[in-house]
Amino acid sequence: MSPLAPRLKAALALFLLMALVPPVVTALGDPFLTVVANRMLVFAIAALSLDLILGYGAMVSFGHAAYLGFGAYAVALGARWGLSDLLAQILLGMAMSAGFALVTGAISLRTKGVYFIMITLAFAQMAYFFFVAQSSLGGDDGVALQARSSLLGVSLEGDMALYYVTLGALMTIYAGLYRLTGSRFGRVLKGTRENALRMQAMGYRPFPYQLVAYVIAACLCSVAGVLLANLTEYVSPAYMGWHRSGELIVMLVFGGIGTLTGAVAGALVAVGLEEVLAIFSDHWRLGFGLVLVLVVLFSPDGLTGLAKRLGIGGRGNG
């Protein structure tokens, strides 16, 4: 594994580009765009975490947004209990996500294929309706946060501060997943994706590996949830609806699965495209849907496939 793998170079270029966004848009006199770009980064984290199970583990979860919700509610609960530090909230979100993912993942992994897709959806919907019924947390309407969190005593009230914290989280998680997917653990996961029977014949039991990956992905996604709640200063069950889970899959497949870089690119482009199209027309969904259909029809493997054919970075990894 050369450290200068093309997909790693492409990811570094993306991160560098995103790091330049706040000063550039401030200089252009439109600092609000920092918030838009921050949204792109948050979803990049969520899509990245989904890539671990969907891309590397072939576990198509249609309930991944539940963990986005757990992260967001960790902020709301943390604020109530006097936990205003981002790291403490992340820990709380991870603990809630890990607990939920461990139980539901163990049950879901009994099933395969479309049944796995649907049982993960079922569990996410249960979590969704659980939070809808919590009237102390605003129920269906959600709850507005009084203030953003702080990080080690530094307030994240400024959009710029939160932006770079999000970018830092994205890069850390990318690096972590890059190492993890290249490790023995990641190879077992990939081997199971390619042929579970052969892995079993080689003496591996796929179940613990898949379950651990499922829990890790859930925890990482909750980080995105914590950041999303801080960004919007608002928490609602809508963050964990099936629609959101579907969007996460769309971003990931759009960018290309199983490359990590594709997940980041897919989220950046999909959220960016939404925002740009929304400027031109209220009917932006028409254009966005058309782009998705055209990408599938004419470019297998999503944007990564497109980039490959155009001869720019982003080589797929097995």
């Binding site: 969907l54 198509v60 049950i107 009994r110 099933t111 395969k112 294929g113 479309v114 049944y115 649907m118 049982i119 959806l121 079922a122 569990f123 919907q125 249960m126 309706f129 659980f130 809808v132 019924a133 009237s135 099936w242 629609h243 579907g246 899959i249 769309v250 497949v253 759009f254 699965i257 009917h283 969904r285 028409l286 966005f288 849907g289 058309l290 782009v291 998705l292 259909v293 990408v295 599938v296 029809l297 297998p300 999503g302």
Partner: protein, 307 residues
Amino acid sequence: MTNLFLLQLLNGAQFGILLFLVAAGLTLVFGIMDFINLAHGVLYMVGAYLMATFAGLTDSFWLGLMLALPATLIFGLVLEFLVFRRLYDRSHLDQVLATFGLILMLSEGVRILWGSAPLNVDMPELLSGSVPLAGPLKYPVYRIAVIAAGLASAVGLWALINHTRVGMLLRAGASNRPMVAALGVDISRLFMLVFAFGAMLAGFAGAIVAPILSVDPGMGESILILTFVVIVIGGVGSIRGAFLAAILVGVVDTVGRTFGPIWLRMVMDPSAAAQTGRMLAPMLVYLLMAAVLFWSPTGLFGRKGAK
């Protein structure tokens, strides 16, 4: 109390029948072509909108229905020709991505053409009014007609699949597609037929539900997830499973929403019962699905070892 229960049972059955009409096409397309079509709910919505338009134009429910059915059929064929046939050989994820894009496009297209405001369709004169059920209880004729129409379609479908040549080819295609193709059957034409037929059934469900629900651009998405729940509980590809699961889901959902809080009140104090009931009622269907998949990972009538 018994009367209310009976009423909700009928409402549940009627909802279940509608779910079955939408699910039948989806489970066939899924089981036979191994194609995940998220846009299937859109066909239900398009059926309802075409019904609203044609019934409005002709000023007649029956003429509207006569026109809406072939129109959805043609719409399904056009979609199949333009998009779906290019996706059969692609991965499930590509199919999800493309059909998700189609949902966005078609829902927005409907919004542009018909606006976001809900439309109404008048009930036909013949089927308005209600009939006395047990005691003082009355039940609307139209809902009974919906149940009857759905049951008739289910029987028709059963006969078609089990007792005709096309049905035989379908069953053969579901179990071994390359073999059927090797025997000289034009499999792509068969696919087109199944797809268009499924589209028409979904459109039919949308058309007959139009007078009792308002027709709005969100209706396709709300039924889509429940339809998937139905076909997964029933087992992908099984019409019989889809029928049982649809009735089960319809009844559990409808009865649970009304009786959940009532039953909970017997074991806990009223305010806690109301809170828990509000939480559990919408969850019931998903609890049911998770439980079924826990005991039988390929649904009630799914083939063991199926993908």
